[in-house]
């Protein structure tokens, strides 16, 4: 889909971007009233392929699944700045984009499809930031907002991890992606999970250390595998731009405080945070819950009890299925 063809999108940075291509996928059927559409927002490195074989949320999206495609028309667009079919950087000449810019593009797509109001916007991690932005920037364009494993702003520690990832890419271009991914992946998992799965076990059940700089521990070869695989699947420029976009995301700064941020929202909010997520911890979601309670607005919050850390919402989990079902 093409948007901003006649008039370019004015970006948060002040620059403009026109003729934007958006890759998207849909599941289910849009009803006559166009009232049953759900927008799924993907994470930093994912794409529009949410459901179906190899879909990043296939456990939750499909006929009679938690997000039931026999009832809902489900859409997922690849975000602006990504490298999975939508317009994104091919060099550092591309303007820096923000989460608000990504959502402006999604909003234009939804309007092109003739949808006035979405039944829900659902997303985890960076997708949660998009869901929140929908509710704040286009309050009448959605009825339900479900940010999962999300935050209103990155912690200093999370900013630091992002900076290291980007520096690796600045220094080593595509090879830097390996390090960025190894680091990122570690932050998406919990320490307990890593200990459970890999412990200090040695690679190939070797009896002793190699006394060399090859991968000795299982965790080393696991991360190396993840990093190398990622290197061929993602674009280093896209990674830089998207990492910058989540680093810039800060509702407190943008609106003064969270109460002001949510003041004009009309959608129902349902926050889900993951018990073992130390990157975007439970307390971050609860800060936003607090703001909505103080405004007397409808809000719900549940903890997803998962040992898998920040990425826990991407794995099959019966509790998450039940929570999503209950909200829809």
């Amino acid at each position: 889909m093409q948007c901003f063809e006649s008039e370019p999108l004015r970006l948060a940075s002040g620059e403009s971007l026109g003729n934007i291509t958006v890759a998207y996928e849909t599941w289910g059927t849009l009803n006559a009233e166009k009232s049953n559409a759900i927008l799924l927002c993907h994470t930093l490195t994912a794409d529009s392929h949410a459901a179906g074989p190899d879909g990043w949320w296939d456990d939750y999206v499909g006929p009679h699944k938690a997000i039931d495609t026999t009832r809902y028309y489900v859409l997922c667009t690849n975000v602006l700045g990504s490298c999975k079919g939508s317009t994104g950087p091919t060099s550092d000449a591309f303007p820096v984009i923000t989460i608000e810019d990504m959502v402006a593009v999604q909003h234009a797509c939804i309007q092109q499809l003739g949808i006035e109001q979405l039944a829900a916007v659902i997303g985890g991690s960076m997708g949660g930031m998009q869901a929140l932005t929908w509710s704040l920037c286009y309050p009448d364009a959605l009825r339900l907002c479900i940010p999962i494993a999300c935050t209103s702003r990155l912690s200093t520690q999370a900013l630091a991890f992002n900076a290291i990832g980007r520096q690796a890419i600045l220094n080593h271009q595509r090879d830097g992606l390996v390090l960025a991914r190894m680091l990122g992946h570690t932050t998406y998992l919990s320490g307990d999970l890593l200990a459970d799965r890999f412990g200090r076990d040695l690679q190939d059940a070797k009896p002793d250390y190699s006394y060399n700089f090859i991968n000795d521990f299982q965790i080393e070869s696991y991360l190396h595998y993840q990093g190398t695989k990622f290197k061929d699947q993602f674009d280093p420029y896209s990674y830089q731009y998207l990492s910058k976009a989540i680093s810039y995301f800060d509702l407190d700064r943008r609106y003064g405080d969270l109460k002001t941020a949510f003041a004009n929202t009309t959608a129902q909010h349902f926050f889900i945070a993951i018990s073992s997520d130390w990157l975007y911890p439970v307390s971050e979601s609860k800060r936003m819950v607090q703001a909505l309670v103080e405004l007397g607005k409808p809000v719900r919050y549940a903890t997803l009890h998962s040992p898998y850390g920040h990425d826990g919402f991407l794995l099959a989990n019966e509790q998450l299925s039940q929570l999503l079902r209950s909200a829809l």
């Binding site: 349902f270 309670v293 103080e294 719900r300 039940q322 209950s326 909200a327």
Partner: protein, 198 residues
């Protein structure tokens, strides 16, 4: 005289901002929404209760009261309902202090350890079990054992005003014939409206 639930409903004004601490399956929130059109939020720690409330469309927040109530700013609510939970709280002083910080008024109920059948069981050398203390010692979530008398003393010492005692029995006729001075002996539960002392 009227029963307990009705008496609470009567105490809550139309459209009040209500927080139900330990809201369970959300039954009471539903009642208050129906009868008083309140803006109700519930807090519970049990994921099954959270799911039940979500399915009823209630504003429920999964949270452990023992981890504090800093989640809310002062005077966020008109009323906090704190029903049958005090006896499970690690730090009752801090919790009651927090409740009366985030709300003007608290409606509280707790099992009365000095209830006559409990006293008799105690004298017989057994850990009391009764309608308001239904658990065996090895499975009880209760960690605080207090009587109505204890609670009154506590409030006095901690600058908490007992605005009024609420009807103690679910059956209206019992409330009509039993005077409040016998509460500590004959009531299975203590039920009060409390506020911070002015």
């Amino acid at each position: 005289m009227i029963g307990f639930q009705d008496s609470i409903v009567n105490e809550i004004h139309q459209g009040a901002r209500v927080l139900d601490l330990g809201c369970g399956n959300g039954e009471f929130m539903e009642l208050l929404i129906q009868t008083k059109q309140v803006i109700a939020y519930g807090i519970d720690i049990d994921p099954n209760n959270i799911l039940t409330c979500l399915n009823k469309g209630l504003n429920v927040i999964e949270h452990d009261i023992n981890s504090g109530l800093d989640l809310f700013s002062p005077n966020t609510f008109d009323v906090v309902i704190f029903s049958e939970t005090l006896q499970e709280i690690k730090d009752p002083v801090a919790t009651l202090d927090a409740i009366l910080r985030i709300a003007t008024t608290c409606i509280i109920s707790f099992p009365n350890f000095a209830f006559l059948p409990n006293r008799i069981q105690g004298l017989l050398g057994r850990t009391p079990q009764s309608a308001s203390l239904p658990h065996s010692w090895f499975e009880s979530p209760n960690i605080r054992f207090l009587s109505i008398y204890d609670f009154k003393q506590f409030c006095h010492r901690h600058a908490i005003e007992l605005v009024k005692p609420l009807p103690l029995f679910n059956a209206a006729w019992l409330n009509a014939i039993i005077p409040h001075c016998l509460d500590n002996l004959v009531a299975p539960r203590g039920r009060f409206i409390i506020q911070r002392q002015a």
